[in-house]
Amino acid sequence: MFIFITVGLLLLTALFLLTLRFMLPDFRFAWLTATGGAFLAWISVFFWQTGMPASVALPLWQPESVFRQSPLFLADGIAWAFALSVTTICLAVIITSVARDNFPSPLSWIGVLTLTGLGVLAVTADNPLTLVLLWAAIDLTEMTSQMRFVENPRLSERVVISFASRVTGILILLWANMVSASEGFVLDFSSPPPRAGIYLIIASALRLGVLPIHLPYASESSFRRGFGTALRMISSGSSLILLARIPPDSVSSSITPVLTLLVAAAALYGAWMWLRAPDELAGRPYWLIGLGSLAVASALRGNPIGATAWSCALILCGGVLFLASAKSRWLETGLLVGLWGISALPFSLTASGWVNPSGTHGYIVPFLVAAQAMLLAGYHRQSQRSAARTSFENQPIWAKNVYPLGVYVILLTILLLGFFGWEGTLQIGNWALGVTAAFLMVGVLWLIPRVRLLNPVRAHWVRTTDSTQPDIIYRTIWTAYRAVRRLLNAFSNVLEGESGIMWTLLFLVLFISIFSQAAP
């Protein structure tokens, strides 16, 4: 029941703000209302602890003879950790918005609150049907919000590409359902059939939200920092929950080793690009790729708790870095808590990240540790770049006082999740790998000023005219697409032309002949 209280608080606040926007456009306490709603929702997540695990079912889909599943929600330790992370980001985005140029921005708060509400429902989904419905709701909300905020209509295409890449993840999850059905099973998170686990991992990876690489806010860094952060983190959280739901024994497949290697390569690529990113917002997609890959690798190695830990670190440690936009010494120091969060050292949020209960795929561990070290080094470099942040001085006094609370709440949650509330707390974990990564990070930081290769590259998202590698891929796909279109158009023209009826009948006879030959 607490699930719906949290979600209800978030969605009702969004609805209230939306109503105010039409009825009282000059309402002065919109921020206070949004913050109040988000804060109450955040507090309500702690009350979940009083009755976990708790299951809530919606009315059954009918006819029951054709629907084998109906929407179902489960609040357990893993869902709680995700829900707390997501609501924390929501609260922090709204609180820190006081220091941004576009303040006040009720429309973006409505978007963030709605997305968070759907995100909380998604992380509590207890079967693929529920998750698919919520993914779809999140995707539609995201697309609508992005379309609304994109000023340049030419950039709308990126919004649609982003939407399409996420829907591909939905289709893969549905395909996992079909594969299970063909084997006589009903796809369920608690006991997915052996071949389905791999599809679940691919679906989750595709939905991480890294395609297209950058959101379409080239000129609007306020949106990129506030709303963009919420968008990226919440949708990643709703996708990564799938990794945490995959039981260890359902990922064994003939393609698992190949997939594991691919994930290690993705982790190295993401971490390397993150290390060399010119600023944290430009590097955000690589942060998602890097830490998302570590989460996927944990799932592939049969460690769903580890996958949860990396996922929460992705949301919270990333969130605090991307939201920190003010120049301040305390901020630089505070952000080091995020470094602790992804360190995988004992009692940290990611302490369970390197546990490998099945003992499989040990050969990729060195690559993954190297990736973690680069992610740590990149995080350290970005968190200590105070010169790149805007000054606080021209902000009103209340904003100066309120803004840090937004950052503190995330830092507090990072520490809290290491000690309280779910299966991954108070873990010593594989501390040796955590320490190795920490030493490697120190080494990389020492090398950065000395090795030119490790220096940041320029922000490539502003390069719109150059021919980049993705452009070549798009061009190739487009050329193939046009070739197929010409072929299909030729066929349509034949059937729709003057002699179309004769051609149609000829094709009909041809198909009947083929079919009668093929039929038993």
Binding site: M147, I161, F163, S182, L488, F507, A519
Partner: protein, 465 residues
Amino acid sequence: MNAPTIWILTPAIFAILLMPLRNQRALSLIGGVFTVLLAVAAQFVPMEQALRLGTLSLRIESSLNILGRQLVINPQEGPLLALIYGATSLWFFGAEASKSALRFVPLGLLVTALMVASIAVEPFLFAALFIETAVLLAVPLVTSIDKPPGKGIIRFLIYQTLAMPCILTSGWLLAGVEASPGNLTLAAQSAAVLGLGFAFLLAVFPLYNWIPMLLEESPPFTVGFLLWILPTATLVFGVGFIDRYSWLRTSPQFVTALRFSGLLMLATGGLWAAFQNHIGRIMAYGSIAETGFALLALSLDSRVGIPILFLLFPARALGLAVWSLALTILKERSKSMRFSDVRGMLRIAPIAGAGLALASLSTSGFPLLGGFPARLALWDALARVSLTGAFWMGVGVISLFAASFRMLAVLSMADEYAGWEANENWLQALMLGLGIIGLFILGLFPQAVQFFLADLPAMFEHLGQ
């Protein structure tokens, strides 16, 4: 009083009476309210039972004799009539918003009454005549006095008319099969001719090329209505056929043919949709894929397939209604329905653009929208019997999604900076808004329509058990 008089003759006479009326709003409202009343009566008024209204006792008989033939509407068919007239009311209420009510409401009501008659007539052979009459009446619906009929209309008339001799011949052959059940050659011949008749009626691949042509040259709203009523009634008529003949029901070749045709329609419909540069033609291929879904449902075990088939109908009706109304609104504001002319229309007509995108996504099977539950159930049931079949269904679904994404991208991309401005009038916005809400309700709570659908399989003596 009898059921055929209430649900066939009365609407037909009422449609003729509506013809002189020249007020769009009045026609739309009268037509809409009248069909709603017919739907409510079909759902709630019991047939073959005494109905007491105070001192008055009323009994609605299920049959009517005309010229030695019978029109029979059984009590189990009440929910089907409610579904057909309920969906027709959606179109009639939307007719004013599409500015097509003058001809659409009277002719549409007449077409609906004739299609109901095609389901009700005994012997079933005469259904072909009712369908042909409905097709002939549909011609003035999609043509204009101002310009000569296009190739699509002529093609539509030819293909639908070719179905009639096939159905009539198959009826004659089937009488022979009933007389001598052991004659396998005669059975095969009658099945082939029957299949050909239904292939023409349902526009099975490659006989569907009139649909995209028609949507290029005729008003989308009226074409959308025809793309809903003709296949829906034909499918029910076809299921009746399958139910009647046990040799047809139990034939493995027949099941394979249905599955093959369904997959072919779905895959080709989806694939062609993905490569179109015309939003009207995309809707045409979407409706072709819809028929593919229905044929696939028919190819499954009837205990699962028939409920799925009926689950497909409301989503198809609502999806096509929203889609065709949105197309009509966009067509009003652009030179043509080609991609080059509708670029950036989402900012000029956001509600119509959203309606178009959502209706198209619903047809693709996007979760949350009306089309999803039935497609999920169908895909799941198909995967249980054939993973290869499920794969090809997946190909069709992915292609339909690709078409939706392309359309969405084109509608959202403008050449220059443009603000958001809703240019639809209040009625168009209201009708589209209600349609979109309906799509979400159907997608989230498929049990909401079980009120109509739960008892529908019982109208088939063998398949519904």
